[in-house]
């Protein structure tokens, strides 16, 4: 870039903090301009707020059989008393949705954390170390890539039910299982990025200066693939939420935790009689997934170093 701009950057460097900060602020400035990305941020933010303040926002206690206890009826249509109607045992659909938000986010973030930790470790090790390590790791990754994901996941969820140690909540098991089976494609993308970064001269310079492999991996490679990792994590959260909803819908979720997928499963028995029971949870799943996807796409555009100038 021109001297003028370089000069300006230097100025900010001197006045403010080290290099990283201005990089992120550039990304943020670009992110702010992207309306779709902001919409995603608002959706995700709103649902996080709902999850945090669920006891205040919900209109009835958790799992309270509102319409059954108070009126002796179940599956009541939406009204001013039950905004989204009541379900097959008379719980208020709206309140249950609010309580479910936390669980849904827990699965999303948890599974993504597990999947991404594996993906980062495997992707960086494979891409950076190369050779035999790369070969072995990539063969394993390929197995996980072509594995009939949902089928195997269902078997493992059954295993989890069978061996679940007491104390570990079943929702945690579901989260763990989803995480353990969704790292492969991310690992491959990160590996590709690492290979790209590895070709850069500063890596060669670091090697020439005698930096250790670990140091190079964490000090030089990781920060340069961080933008990809952030984007993949966001998209992975969306996927994990969809998968949890899917397995819950099939009856393989945790029956003791309220999630939107669980609500949909309860509703699927009587779609005709009580459309409200499924419509709202489904709408919320779609909305949240959309939120994370918009956020992910927005971050990709904002963080892409090739667009940074």
């Amino acid at each position: 870039m021109s001297n003028v701009i370089r000069g300006k950057r230097l100025e900010t460097l001197v006045k403010r903090k080290p290099a990283g900060v201005s990089q992120w602020s550039i990304a943020w400035r670009r992110f702010k301009k992207n309306k779709a990305a902001l919409a995603g941020l608002v959706i995700v933010g709103a649902i996080i707020v709902i999850a945090v303040f669920s006891p205040i926002i919900a209109r009835y206690p958790l799992n309270y059989l509102a319409s059954f206890n108070e009126e002796g009826r179940i599956r009541m249509p939406p009204s001013s008393k039950y905004w989204f109607g009541t379900d097959y045992i008379g719980r208020d659909v709206f309140s249950q949705l609010v309580y479910g938000a936390g669980n849904v986010l827990y699965v999303g973030f948890g599974a993504a954390a597990i999947a991404m930790s594996l993906a980062i470790a495997i992707g960086i090790a494979s891409g950076y170390l190369g050779g035999l390590v790369d070969n072995v790791l990539m063969r394993i990754t390929e197995i996980f890539l072509v594995i009939p994901f949902l089928l195997i996941l269902l078997v493992f969820l059954r295993v989890a039910m069978a061996i679940a140690p007491s104390g570990v909540g079943s929702l945690t098991m579901v989260t763990l299982m989803i995480g353990l089976f969704s790292w492969a494609s991310n690992a491959r993308i990160i590996r590709g990025e690492v290979l790209r970064v590895k070709q850069n001269e500063y890596i060669e310079a670091a090697i020439a200066l005698g930096a250790s492999k670990w140091r190079i991996m964490f000090r030089h490679v990781l920060p340069n693939v961080l933008h990809v990792i952030i984007v993949l994590t966001t998209l992975q959260i969306a996927t994990a939420i969809l998968v949890e909803a899917g397995v819950s819908f099939l009856g393989f979720g945790d029956p003791n935790s309220v999630t939107w997928g669980q609500q949909l499963q309860g509703a699927s028995e009587a779609v005709k009689e009580a459309w409200w029971e499924g419509i709202f949870p489904g709408l919320f799943i779609t909305l949240l997934v959309l939120g994370f996807n918009l956020l992910g796409n927005g971050l990709r555009d904002a963080l892409d170093p090739r667009l940074r100038e």
Binding site: I143, V159, A162, F249, I285, T286
Partner: protein, 346 residues
């Protein structure tokens, strides 16, 4: 030099022969590569099922008069008393002879191959129809959207597709059933056929079949359509920026040739890869679709088998689906090599 008349064809034939040979080698290499992956998946599912619980206990749990000896005998009968590696090798040996074992739970211990044979077509019917329609619709829309980037049409297409990728298939299914079957009454709300032949539209079995297929295929098509549209669009945008497209335009080729010959072939390369992987995902996702539409396919069979710990059926369906996924992968690889000479000829 060959004679003038045969020149083009003769040389072309020779060159294609060389290409074909390298193609055969390529396919064989891919095939060899897929075998360990297949066995890897097989081992995972085999071990996992054995960890999921004891089917004999599950079967006999509700029977208070069952004796300990009877249980032992059943366990022996199913070979579950043998060490795991022995069970696995026996399974592989039998599988290679085309025998996937007999179901524990389904009446009379039906052979798994028969079960899969009976249910697989119903699954395939939906998935293939949906794949076909989604590609036929998505590719032209994606191309159009890319050519008119940032237009109103493009905005609409991208937004719809983006939202489409976020809707869970079961939710889409439920909404479709709610609207088109309960409220409007246009389509049946599940199952593959009418039970009562007198209810066939115009008395035709085929029409009845198509009538039942409509909703699930439409929902699946829409679900698959969205990501393919986005992919075709972005791939096409990338290709349209390339120099060879400019060069093709500069040499006076018609817009149609430039787009549908020069650009499309390149743009399809990532699409082909994706479709192969995606088809695998859709097949594995069959349990969900089949539950929503109450469809008698392998997916529903699979879910029942897991809840009953019906090991042979679980393993059998996994083997079948994995094989299908691998075949889809192989077809993808071949299509890939066919489209892209850089893969075919090293």
């Amino acid at each position: 030099m060959p004679t003038k008349r045969e020149g083009f064809k003769a040389i072309r034939f020779k060159v294609h022969n060389i290409a074909k040979n390298s193609m055969t080698k390529y396919v064989l290499r891919r095939l060899l590569y897929l075998i360990p992956i297949f066995f890897g998946i097989l081992i995972i599912v085999f071990v996992a099922t054995r960890m999921a619980g004891d089917p004999v206990k599950l079967m006999t749990g509700l029977n208070p008069r069952i004796t300990f000896e009877a249980r032992e005998r059943l366990t022996q009968y199913y070979g579950l008393d043998q060490p795991l590696y022995y069970q696995f090798l026996k399974f592989v040996w039998e599988m290679l002879q085309g025998n996937l074992g007999n179901s524990y739970a389904i009446r009379g211990g039906t052979a798994v191959t028969t079960l899969v044979g009976n249910y697989a077509w119903e699954t395939f019917k939906l998935q293939l129809a949906a794949l076909f329609f989604s590609l036929v619709i998505a590719i032209p829309i994606g191309i159009l959207s890319a050519r008119k980037q940032y237009s109103k049409l493009d905005m609409t297409v991208t937004t719809t597709s983006l939202v489409g990728t976020c809707i869970p298939i079961f939710y889409m299914g439920i909404v479709a059933i709610l609207i088109f079957s309960y409220f409007l009454g246009w389509f049946p709300y599940g199952a593959a056929h009418s039970l009562d032949p007198t209810r066939y539209p115009f008395g035709s079995y085929l029409l009845d079949e198509l009538w039942h297929m409509f909703l699930p295929v439409a929902a699946l098509t829409f679900a698959e359509l969205a990501p393919v549209v986005l992919l075709v669009r972005s791939s096409m945008l990338e290709v349209l920026r390339q120099d060879y497209i400019l060069a093709a335009r500069a040499s006076g080729l018609s817009e149609r040739t430039v787009i549908y010959k020069h650009a499309l072939r390149n743009a399809l390369i990532p699409v082909v890869t994706y479709v192969g992987l995606y088809f695998g995902g859709m097949l594995a996702g069959a349990p969900i679709t089949e539950k929503v539409f109450n469809w008698p396919g392998v997916g529903r069979l699979y879910v029942e088998a897991i809840s009953k710990l019906d090991f042979p059926v679980i393993t059998g369906i996994t083997v079948f689906v994995t094989l299908m996924v691998l075949v889809a992968n192989l077809i993808t690889d071949i299509a890939y090599a066919y489209i892209d000479p850089r893969i075919r000829i090293e």
